[in-house]
Symmetry: C2
Subunit: 427 residues, 2 copies
């Protein structure tokens, strides 16, 4: 075996540059942890780079290079990322990836290939930025039967929600502010529509329950239609955060991504700006929470380099992939709870004509559908209209949705579509 | 190699029983993660146990058993725990221990022996209960230059402080309540005097900086003389928690364990009862926080079993101890900051004679010693005496202590020894 671990890097954007910088600055730490130097031999990118001596135009040249032990995939997106990972594993390379989209979508193919070819793929940076939650779930809580995973998993949306809550900005202005701070893309759909959170939740849930939990099984709602009025009206109770949630119930795993109202005393409500947090509840462990930066060059690159170091420890003894890192059983069927059976308390807001009898009509419809009211208030009047805010007790989502459809049909008294926000208690 | 990983367990108290239960209940998970069954062959305890078929009276019989791959030390204290660990490593066994006292005190001997004999010792349960912080620091943040470690590391004291803060109990009553809830020993000195926190801090700091940081280098103050009056008077600012803190400064590592006043907006202030939390600040990672139960059978045993599983993955391929898990360089001298040079803001309380001129005398002495005042209030009067609460700006501890000695010497106007509580901002 060669004197050092030899790495090929594919994708030289912000994170890729950070990986090279951290590896070079921390050579002493790396040597002491791994027992060998880790050397980047080749870097592939669409465009020429500032390290011409390492530049490789075609990623296939990295995959077929017999000197390379480990390939780091940092290009994002589905293709050619999927092909790179699969071909690398088949060529006998170990892989590090930060690509949540490709992992969530091709979990089965990627981990089956890794098992078949007895190679490892590490992906700590794909979820929660710098937070070592993949490792925490897979190794730290190795002995646990997992009951729940809940997380603030997207730095962009959390930054936007922090701006709305703390500075009273509208969604549009908060998004602009996130774009200026470098925390949102010019096309933010992937983040604000909740897709990114759903990808990360699918990865954590698949890992926790040893099968493949698909994104299409997750009920996903983003933050783009969140009204600043509801952010303000719900402040008395807490803060609104975009939560990805996976709960084991006796009828299946309850999976959702949606804006949730978090009680002020709850740790999640103190998670601001680009920070992420993940709560894992195990049978014996109880609640374990991980918190750290979910975005930014340093945090993401740090997580990638930790994967490179930890995987290299196995490469040194030629044992990477011999013991599976991810328990994945492709035959395991994981039962998913239908979204309508999900149970929670909710914040509801109705904008209604301000006249006697309206309230009793609304509360009557809720009651007929078994939605029980915990509190009711009328905080605002605007001309002939008034806002009515109702906090429900725990109710089934399908009952609530039936009630809301019936209320929305009362066109003579209801001005706009009722607003519904889940009330969450992650710890 | 045998068909299963064979374990000898030494110490069959609450945690030991939990380990046996979790291993037996989770055999399927274990088999899938390790690729082999993990079997407990022998259990040693001072007294006969409820599993007579596994009982071994003398721990030496476990150490010399050639079938045993891994020894789990759960007896606590210094001896024979130290001998068991050292003899086990020398006999070619890998070791799992939850014993923070023996690790902190014999770090050098234990890790030198492990390196010399190329065996591994895992000790996740020694710090932070179920929280995977040893792994998080060693592997998750593998690439990081560590700047700071701060933690609520002792469940007993945190439980007592929660009771004082939330229920207004005196220290004595809160301790009693902790004893009744099973979170404090009948002799609670080890916990309430801060020694346990100091042991855990020494472990984390030694791990972070690759040398041996000794408990005697840590300035330790416990909670037993904390007055409920100060808990109440400081509530406006935040909550008092016992914090272990290790900060890299240009003049050395600043190490302390003491009750600290934590700002309400800070995540640490939401850590209640037996929960622990650890904040690690790295160069690229920024702040990473870990949170979970620091005490109790389930959480402690879960951490021990995760160590058994993770270590077994290496035993399966016969590579445990080949790549060092803990970077320890016995020749590395780590510079420690003298306690007096430590800098912080402080909460001070003086009980003084209620007459003109007293305040100017106190503030004059503080000013002469370069201690600058951020705010001053007189919340209480009791007969001829009044409490004066002063919040300082950041100041050096030695300057402050000189000032407090001078003020305490004013016997005609000062009724009791001034109270000083560090104000902490862990994130």
């Amino acid at each position: 075996m060669s004197k050092c671990i030899t790495v090929g890097l594919i994708g030289y954007g912000t994170v890729g540059k950070g990986v090279v910088r951290i590896l070079e600055n921390n050579q002493k730490i790396v040597l002491r942890k791994v027992g060998k130097h880790i050397k980047i031999k080749s870097i592939c990118d669409l465009n020429p780079i500032d390290r011409p001596e390492l530049y490789v135009k075609n990623f296939k040249d990295i995959i077929k290079d017999p000197e390379i032990d480990l390939i780091v995939e940092l290009i994002g997106g589905y293709e050619p990322a999927r092909s790179i990972i699969i071909e690398a594993l088949k060529a006998g390379k170990n892989v590090v990836s930060a690509n949540k989209a490709v992992l969530a979508k091709y979990w089965d193919q990627i981990f089956t290939t890794a098992q078949d070819y007895k190679k490892s793929i590490y992906y700590e940076a794909s979820v929660g930025g710098v937070i070592p939650v993949v490792q925490g779930l897979n190794e730290g809580l190795a002995a646990e039967e997992i009951f729940e995973i809940k997380g603030i998993l997207n730095g962009t949306t959390n930054f936007i929600l922090s701006k709305m809550t703390k500075e009273g900005l509208s969604y549009e202005d908060a998004l602009k502010s996130a774009q200026e701070a470098g925390f949102a893309e010019s096309n933010p759909a992937f983040d604000v529509d909740g897709i990114d959170t759903a990808n990360k939740l699918a990865i954590l849930a698949s890992l926790a329950w040893g099968g493949w939990i698909k994104v299409k099984n997750i009920a996903v709602k983003g933050i783009s239609d969140l009204n600043i009025k509801d952010v303000n009206l719900s402040k008395r109770i807490g803060n609104i955060k975009l939560i990805g949630s996976a709960i084991k119930t006796k009828n299946g795993i309850d999976l959702s991504v949606c804006p949730c109202l978090i009680n002020k005393s709850n740790t999640f409500s103190t998670v601001e700006n680009e920070y992420n947090a993940v709560l894992i509840k195990g049978k014996d462990s109880g609640d374990v929470l991980f918190y750290g930066k979910g975005a930014g060059q340093g945090p993401a690159a740090s997580a990638v380099v930790s994967d490179i170091i930890n995987l290299s420890k196995f490469i040194v003894t030629n044992t990477a992939g011999i013991v599976t890192d991810v328990i994945y059983d492709r035959k395991k069927k994981i039962k998913i709870l239908p979204a309508g059976q999900s149970r929670s308390a909710y914040y509801l807001r109705f904008t209604v004509v301000d006249k006697p009898g309206v309230l009793s009509k609304i509360s009557g419809i809720l009651g007929n559908n078994k939605v029980s009211i915990a509190s009711l208030s009328q905080p605002n009047k605007q001309g002939d209209y008034a806002d009515v805010v109702i906090i429900t007790h725990e109710t089934s989502l399908s009952h609530l949705e039936t009630a809301l459809r019936q209320i929305n049909a009362l066109k003579s008294i209801v001005k706009s579509k009722p607003v519904k926000i889940k009330i969450e208690n992650p710890s």
